[in-house]
Every structure is written in C-alpha cells, then in structure tokens.
Symmetry: C2
Subunit: 647 residues, 2 copies
C-alpha cells in the first residue's frame, strides 16, 4: 500500500478538528451521552439487538448507518494514526454489532427489533441494503486501518446472506435497494477480500435496476402501505418528488441507459460512483460511457458553483438542466461527498483535470461549509444565498437553516464529513504505470509504487491560499517517472521550474488538463509549480436564469460570499463592480483566511410608510468585504449572498 | 333598492365575456358536457342525491360549492339583465337541489351519498359548513335577481338545521367550520330575511373560533384519521403548512384578538369579511377594531403590488410580514376576491380611500389576470414573475402555471370570478346619510336613495385607461347631497371643475382620501374630475428583500409587466431606467390596452462551454415593451417579469 502523510497547515487543522472534536462528539451522540433534540440511540439499538441491554428500537429505519459511518471514519483515522483509546471504544462497539448479527448473517437492528417478520419486504423505502453497504465500507476501512477483521467478518457474513437472498436466479428475490449504497460496499469488500461473489452481486444490483417491476410488486404485496405515512398511498414514492416516481430512486431506466442525473441526489451519485468502479473492474466500456454521460450532465448542467448538487428539497433531488435556484436549493453536504467519490472513480479510470476540478470545487466549498470550524455544528443544506428572516418565514425556503445545527435526527451529513476528511489523502494523487498524477495540491509526503519502483515525494503548498507548490524527490533516485500536474480550471497562468530553472511552456507535454514532467529523477530534484491565484469574477451560463446579471467571486478553488456582519443588512441591494481589482487581506480569525474587498454600489431602499411607493433609489458607493463561502456563518447568523448582481 | 347600470366599455366587455362565455362554459363543465381532465360531476351529484339518477358521488368534498357559486353568478346576472333560458336552466338545477335536501334540512351531497353516518364529524377538513355558506350566498343572490324564493327556502331550512346542531347551548355541538364561509352566508341570509337567528348563529361561529378545543376533540373522536390521506396523522392539519396547525384555519386565537393575517389566505379573508359585516350589524367596536388591525396587516405588510395575497403554496397561505417572494408565491385569484369583499365591508362601514385603493388594485390586476380574455382559461395562482422552463422544472415553482388552464379539479377560482364580475356594480359607490361616496370609477348610471331623496347620476369614464371622469346629475334637482370622490393612491395630481368652472383645490373639503362636493344639485349639473394618469415607477418597502434594487411600472391602477414575446428571452437580464419617460401606445389587440415603452439595458449573458466562466457581461441598450399585468399570457406562453431591476 502507498503511504502518505498530510503536511498541510490547512488540512492538518481540519484533521485535528475531526479527530479531536468531531469523532469524539459523534461518539457522544451515538451513545446518547450528548443531549440532542432527538437522541440517536444508534449504539443502544445494537446493544439491545445483541441482548446485552433491554429496551426498544428507536430512530430511523436507517439509524444503523450512522454508527457504521462513524466506524469508517474511525478506521480511516486509526490507519493514519494510532489511538488505542479510540480503538478500544470501536472494538467494544464492534462486539455489539457482531453480537447483534443473526445466525444466517442478517443484520439490521430496526427489522430485528421492530418488524422481524418484515425483512426484505420494503426495499424501496427501508434502507436494509443501504445500511449493509455502509457496514461493508466501514469494515474495509477498519480492517485497513487496524488490521483487525472482526467487523470484516460481520460484513462478509451479511454480504453472504444478501447473496443468498438476491440475484438473478429464479428462486431469489429480484429486487435492488431503494437507496443505493450496497453496490459500493460490495465492490470495496471485493477489492479487499478478492471474493468475486461480492463483485458479481454488486453487478447484479446495478444491472437489475430499472429492468423489472419488483418495486411495484412489493408495493402491492405490502398492501400499498408506505413506511413513512403508515397508511396506503397511490403509488410508490407518492410523498417524494414531483417527477414520475421511478426517477426518485433512479429506476426509470436500466443504469447503463441513463443519461441524465435525476431524483434524490445522494442516491444518484452513490450509484454512479459504484457504476464507475464496477465498469473499471468489469472492463465494461458501455457502463463507463454511461458514467461519463451522467457526470457530464451533472457538472455541465446541474451543479452549483460550489460543487453542490440537488436543486430542490422536494425529494432532495436534481430537477432539470440549468435549474439552479440560489435561495431554494438543497445542495446537501452528503451529495457533494458522493460527487467527489464518483469523480474520484472517474479520475482513477481516466485522468482528466476536469474530474479533479470538480472534486476541488465540492471539497473546498460545500464539504467544508458543511461543518463549523468548531467541529460541532453542521449544515445539511448549503444555499447560495440566505436571509434569516426569509428562511424562517417562507416554507419554500424553510429547509435552509441560517445557523449550523448541533445534530440532526437524520444525521447523515456529519459522519459523512468525518469519513471524507479522514480519507482526504486518497484524493491527492493516483499512479498509472510510470505516471504519477497529482490531482489535489494538499501538502504531504507520499510514497508511491510505480511500475519502475518506489518513489517518495514531498509536496509543499499553502493551499488553498497560495498557488505556489513545490515538489521534491525524497526517494527514487535514478527512477524514470512522469509526474503529471493538474492545471486547475481557475488557473489562468502558470509556470514551472525544475531545480530552479524555468521551463518554457511550449516544451511541456500537456494532456487532458495535466502538464507532464517526464524524466529520470535524481535525489533532491525539485519542481516549483506556480498557479496564478487571483480573485476573479465568474458568470454562469445564460441558461441559469437565476444568475442573470450576476457574478460570483472566486479565488483559486474558493468561492466567496458576502455576509451581513461585514456589509450590513439588505445585501440584495448591493451590486459589484466586476472591473475592480479586489484587495486581498489575510484575516487571522477562524482558521485564517483571505478576505477580499470589492468595489460596489448599494441601491439603497427605504423603510416606507406605504408598502409600495414612488421609486427613490439612493445609489451609494460601498466597499464589500467577501469571505470564503466555506466559512460563512462561522461568525454569527446573518444574510449571505454568493451570486451578486453586477454593476 | 338602488339601481345601477354599467356604462363602461371596459366592464361591459368583461360582463359580456362572463355572461356569454364563462357562465355557459361553467354550465357545460358542471353538467359534464364539456370534457375536462377531471369531470366535475357537480350537477350529477345533486341529481343522484335527489333520486332522479343512479350513480355514485364524485369529486371533492366541497364539490357542491362549485354549483352554488355558479348559481350566485346567475342570480347576479339575472338581476342585472333577464335571460329566460338561463333562468330556466337554473330553476331546473334548483329543483334538484331542493330534491336532494333531507327532511331535517341537511344538504351536502358528499356526505349524503358517501358517508351518511359521518355528518358533522370532521368540521376541520370536510367543508359541510363551507358549502352551506355558498348555498346561502347563492340563494340570496338568486332571490334578489329573480324574486324567486325556492332556493332561499332550501338555504333557510339548511340554516335552521345548522342552528339546531351548532351553538353555545350545552346539548349542541360547539364546533365551527374548518373553512370559513358560512358566517358570511348566514349574515347575508339575515340581511335578506331579517331572521335574527341567522345573525346570532353567524356570531356564534365567529366567536367560538379559537375558544375551545373542538377540532382536537373531533380529531380524537375520528381516530386521528385525515380525510385527505385516509390514514392516521400526528395532528390536525398535519399535511398543510408548516406553522402551528391552528394557524392554517385561523383558530389560533379568538377572532377578536387576532392581529396578523395567518394561514390559508382564502379562509382568512372570507372570515375577516364576515367579521367586518358582523361588527357593523352588531355595533361591535372591538370586533371592528380587530378587522382594522387585520386589514392593515395585510395591505401594509403581506400584499403584493397586484393586490394578491398568500406568499406560499404550502397551505395556500400567508407567511410573515414582508415575505413576498415573486417566483414562488401563491396569490390565489379567490384570495384577492375575498380581500375585495373584506375591503368593501370595511369601506361601507368607514369610508377611507385606502379600502377603495386595495379593491381597485386587486380587481384590475389579480382578479382580471385570473381569466383569459377568451373567458375559458384561468389562473389559480398569479405569480409576480415566471419562466416557463423553471416552473416546469422546479418543484418550489411548479404550482405556477405559465399557461392559463381550462379548468381545475379544485375549481374554486373560475366561478368566483364569475360571481365577482356579475356583481361589479356593487363596488362602485355607497351612500351614507346625505353623502354619496364614489369608490370606483366605473362608467355607469346610478340611482341612489339618500336621506334627502333619490338622486340619479351618470358617471362617464374610460377607466382604467384614462383618469378623466365626468359626473352628471340626471335626477334629483334641488336636492342637497355631498358627493365624495375617491382620490386614488396612484394619483399625484387631480383637478375638479363644476359645470365647466375649475374649483380651486384649497376650497374643497377633503377627508380620508375623498374630496367632497357639497351642494344643492341642479339638473344637468356636471363635475369633471381629472386624475392624472401617467406611468410611474414604484418601489417596495426595503423589508421586502425580494424586491431590492427593483421597480415596478404602474399606470393608474394597473401594474405592468414585461413579457418574452415582446422583449425576447432571458428577461431577468433586463434593467429599467427609472429616469426615463415611458412612451404610451394604444394597442388594438385583445380587449385593447396601452402598452408602455421603457428605456432599459440588457446585461446579456452567454451560452457558455463551461457552466461557470469568466464574466463578460455585454451591456446592450434596449427598449422594453410593458403590458398590463392582467393581460399577461394572453398572447402565448413565455417569460414574464413584474419587478424589474433598476438601472
């Protein structure tokens, strides 16, 4: 296995938050030691199922997954750095999980405790396979991180159980999950154990989707009762989004024939990620083509500038091409995590800077925005703009919270952030033959096995604040290797020097958004790679109606926003001069950041005697202070705007 | 009774549409002779209940009210002008209605045919009293219009039945309607019949509201089953808006202690109108004060510039002060009709031009926008702006239709428009002692009984296109009368002459937005009253966040909008120069209208290779053509914007 050490002030700060605060905090929540508005009961459910505690199941039908995601983060974390106390805690919990597992491998505390005779009877709504998938991901992470295989054994037994129940064979159930995730879990389980039945089962779940009417049949079998309303409904998914109900869970067509991202955004990208992984493992070009098409559809037509997806809270879903409202969007943190994972699978299969661009966009904007700098408050929904009074008053905007919440009863996002940040090193590079692709400029020391041998490189960067990157060869003297550096989409000018000697641009190999340095490396060789990082104004494609006449401010990978506390109330009155040169200033507060000063004019309104009165707009030159979007709402509640009307 | 004859090209055109097209069209719908996506079955239900036809009930629980509202419009229409064929049709229907009524006076085809043992068991959701109220209004209109009292007898028997069931007495049910309307119906029935028990019962329904826990108790009695989901729900109104459920039907507080308009907008204004009427009849100052407070709250804080109300489709409801989104609003046509009726009750009780302003605003903008010029297509929802692609794609905007629909399964708005337009003459003036208040400048001949005697006046006006009005005394020579002319809020300058002699402004009496002409009138006396009617730009109070930096264009009472067919796609790119002097042009198409040409600049976007790219706004001077909002979407589907960013 390749080894990597993060050496980035920025990311070490976040890793510390996750390790020192988020993981312990989540432990407190999962074990009900931290008082939440809605107690988690996740650990308690397992203890009850394991017979070591009395009580009743409590929580959502997918409550188990919260604990699994926590264990995945713990596995990642322990793999990076030992922590005996944390490991002991995790081992104890794993004992309960193992104890809860039934003879035949079945494991899901909701059904075991609450509806033991209803297992596998409502695949559309009840998340059994979803939870199983998260168990598999956690088990692999924990085995990789600790070398311990007890959880892996549990996951394999559950996978075997699922394999006996589901499949193409006549006597098996021909269903697939309403919430995709088991596909990815099975593939990871296959990668780690090399047990081909898991890959085969993953393929089955992907392929059967949209090929039969299993969901309709099980709907009739259960008397058309919805798990969520406990009453009969007209059609499956009646209470979700407005589209034909098959779109919500992406079973409107066989997966390889799907061309547009539709339905619940998290389900979609979890599935696309599994499809990409499966396509590579199965050398399935057609399936991979479908992934390309879906990825292009998302990033060219359905993605926010912050790398978030899901334009509507109705079904937490995609809507249509170019429908990207700023004030009613969903943009779930988990969906961006899924998009990162999907993009990473694509990137590993066919390096192209555009995949890395999207990962960077989603990571530095939406994923980081999902958590407060205190590591204890979270956004589930990430709006492009918000006015607290409006979000409180208006039902179409009320899903948008303007203060990060302590925890959620449906607590998918916080543990998802934990497992993503603890796995951050795996986004940095990939190796293909003699090529080493550097995708993300995260300061680190990396040991990589190429076709030619082991190479060790240090990457020094003050990213995302500075575009200067230094790469230095630590080990691999005399080795031929082609180092590929991603040229980010925000980078308008760049320069490279090798051992202090500038390289002319025209002599550099370029391919799919990477520049290549091909040479036999010598110890202490160093590259200086300088990507110009200047504030820029960006506009959206005209077909995004909502952004007509507006611009966003970006600097490197970071999208900026303006906040009420810096600029006063009624931010919508402000218009920015896109001809101005923003002034950058380093701010020490929070985790430190560059703020930007922008020339602007405020079209100041009035508090009027009459609700509607003659116009009397007062135009007032103002200087707007913009801050990175990912840090918004860390200094108190207030208005926030990302897309600012241009002057 | 005072007599009035409409002599207005504008309104005669609308009266013709309603009489010649809308009323016959509705007849076709109600009798299932016109194919609709969802057949009405309203008449059929009555025939079945009357035993003259076999079959089952079909339609909503409030289906009866569609027919009642049609009969109210027919009553209005027949009162204005005889139409034996129409009267015969109505009489036949009235026969079925009478035939359907039970021995004890009960009448509601849904419960009679479908759930005969569940009468009065779900007042919150099931509209029995709502339908009864519409029957009462229809019965009074029909009796007034035709002198025939058969329907009135039915209504009285039903009112008596209700009186036996509901009231303060121990043995009666202590409930009130989930959808207010019976209060107004009972009061009108009292006014016509002078039967005081009806007024007493109306007071009971108003007063008991918010005073007990009847709705909660009946909810428990029916096993917490919702009529709408047919399954158990956590609390009454679970599936309506987000606020505490008592707000949706305005039973969060006793009505006389309510201070803000909340919940379902139609229910609210129907109730406020009844409260105002009851307060006057009962000389109840406290109750009237509550009406003033509620009215002020609506028009100062919760009303759109078009006189529409209801900021959210969630519960078709009010939200909070100043929350007036342009692209996700509800603004139901029926709610504006209710607001007009409420305002008219206030106006009759205490003349103040502001009531007339609101009536004018709602009437000339929202109510007329609710119907296409063909009289056969209708808007239920009246947005301030719309992009067809967005309304189709986005669930938070999907309630907004960008083409008027033929009919709705919940068909409240079209018959409401019919009964409002056929009753238009009753909005024009009111008499108080020796005073004649002219509220609306609708061309007409009016015969009015004042304290001093009968006076007959002709009002000539080319309203809403021209602000010049001529009043001429036709009868009443030698009579003293004080004619009060409303000075509309849009009027910045006005002048008056009496018999051709200009009157200096300073000698005119003014009070509450009216100017008074007090004199002993002579035959052929004439007043020329000229209200300057020029296009103006209007801005909203700053607290309406959504309208920051935007202006609306108005001309007289009419709000204007820009449409795609005149100005090209991507209307959001356009910014208007509020310093410009709009050019007016008379257009012959549709029913004829003034269009306005506005100087503007288009901040033109690009169809881009990348969804987000460097700004390159191209500013292009353009001339925008604006048309009256009430006529939008009469020339095809396309984008529409009312609040335009200012340059």
């Amino acid at each position: 296995m390749n080894k990597i050490r993060i050496k980035s002030e920025f990311w070490e700060w976040y890793l510390d938050i996750v390790n020192d605060r988020l993981i312990p905090y989540q432990w407190g929540v999962l074990t009900d030691q931290i008082a939440c508005s809605v107690p988690s009961h996740a650990v308690r459910n397992f203890k009850i199922a394991a017979g070591v505690m009395d009580g009743e199941f409590s929580g959502f039908v997918f409550q188990d997954s919260d604990l699994y995601k926590w264990l995945e983060a713990v596995g990642n974390s322990l793999g990076y750095e030992k922590n005996p106390e944390l490991e002991a805690r995790a081992d104890e919990i794993i004992g309960y999980i193992a104890g809860a597992q039934e003879e035949d491998g079945y494991l899901n505390t909701y059904f075991q405790l609450k509806e033991p005779d209803k297992k596998w009877s409502n695949l559309l709504e009840c998340h059994e396979l979803y939870c199983a998938g998260h168990l598999m991901e956690a088990a692999v992470a924990y085995a990789r991180g600790t070398g311990k295989t007890r959880l892996l054994g549990v996951a394999c037994r559950l996978a075997d159980c699922i394999d006996r129940v589901f499949g193409w064979e006549e006597e098996k159930l021909h269903g697939c999950p309403g919430h995709q995730e088991v596909e990815l879990g099975l593939i990871k389980l296959y990668e780690y154990t090399e047990e081909t039945s898991y890959l085969k089962l993953a393929f089955y779940f992907l392929e059967v989707r949209g090929q039969n009417s299993f969901f309709e049949e099980e709907f009739e079998r259960r008397g058309r009762i919805s798990h969520w309303t406990r009453g009969p409904v007209d059609e499956p998914n009646k209470y979700y989004n407005q589209y034909p109900y098959t779109y919500y869970n992406q079973f409107h067509a066989p997966v390889r024939h799907q061309t547009e991202a539709v339905g619940h955004a998290v389900r979609a990208v979890y599935m696309y990620g599994a499809m990409a992984k499966a396509a590579v493992l199965g050398r399935d070009e057609e399936l991979f083509d479908a992934c390309r098409t879906l990825w292009e559809n998302i990033v060219q037509k359905q993605m926010y500038i912050t790398g978030s997806i899901g334009s509507t809270p109705a079904g937490e879903a995609f809507t249509r091409d170019y429908d990207l409202p700023n004030d009613t969007n969903y943009s779930e943190t988990c969906a961006s995590i899924g998009l990162i994972r999907f993009s990473m699978e694509m990137l590993k299969a066919e390096p192209d800077s555009r995949y890395g661009d999207v990962i960077e966009r989603a990571l530095y904007n939406t994923v980081l925005a999902g958590m407060a700098v205190d590591g204890r408050h979270f956004f589930y929904v990430n709006p492009m703009e918000a006015v607290p009074e409006i979000c409180e008053a208006n039902p179409e905007r009320n899903h948008i919270k303007t203060v990060r919440q302590e925890w959620y009863s449906c607590a998918c996002c916080p543990p998802n952030i934990a497992r993503t940040i603890t796995d951050i090193q795996n986004l940095i590079y990939s190796v293909s033959g003699r090529r080493i692709y550097i995708h993300q400029y995260i300061g680190s020391e990396m040991e990589m096995k190429t076709e030619e041998g082991t190479i060790r490189i240090s990457l020094e960067a003050d990213f995302p604040w500075n575009g200067k990157v230094a790469l230095r060869l630590l080990e691999g003297d005399g080795l031929y290797a082609e180092i590929a550096l991603r040229v980010p989409d925000w980078c308008r000018a760049c320069s490279l020097s090798i051992n202090g000697v500038a390289v002319k641009e025209e002599v550099l190999d370029k391919e799919k958004g990477y520049i290549f340095v091909k040479r036999i490396w010598k110890a202490e060789d160093y590259l200086e790679w300088d990507m110009e990082m200047r504030p820029q104004f960006v506009q959206a494609d005209r077909r995004v109606y909502y952004n007509a006449g507006k611009a966003a401010v970006v600097r490197g990978p970071l999208v900026y926003c303006i906040e009420e506390m810096d600029n006063g109330s009624y931010l919508y009155e402000c218009r920015v001069d896109t001809e101005c040169t923003p002034r950058e200033e380093w701010e020490e507060e929070l985790s430190g950041y560059y703020s930007l000063s922008l020339s602007a004019v405020r079209y100041q309104g009035r508090i009027q005697d009459k609700l509607y009165d003659r116009t009397l707009v007062h135009k007032k030159p103002v200087c707007l202070k913009a801050v990175p979007y990912f840090l918004w709402n860390n200094r108190g509640q207030g208005e926030m705007v990302t897309w600012i009307p241009v002057l």
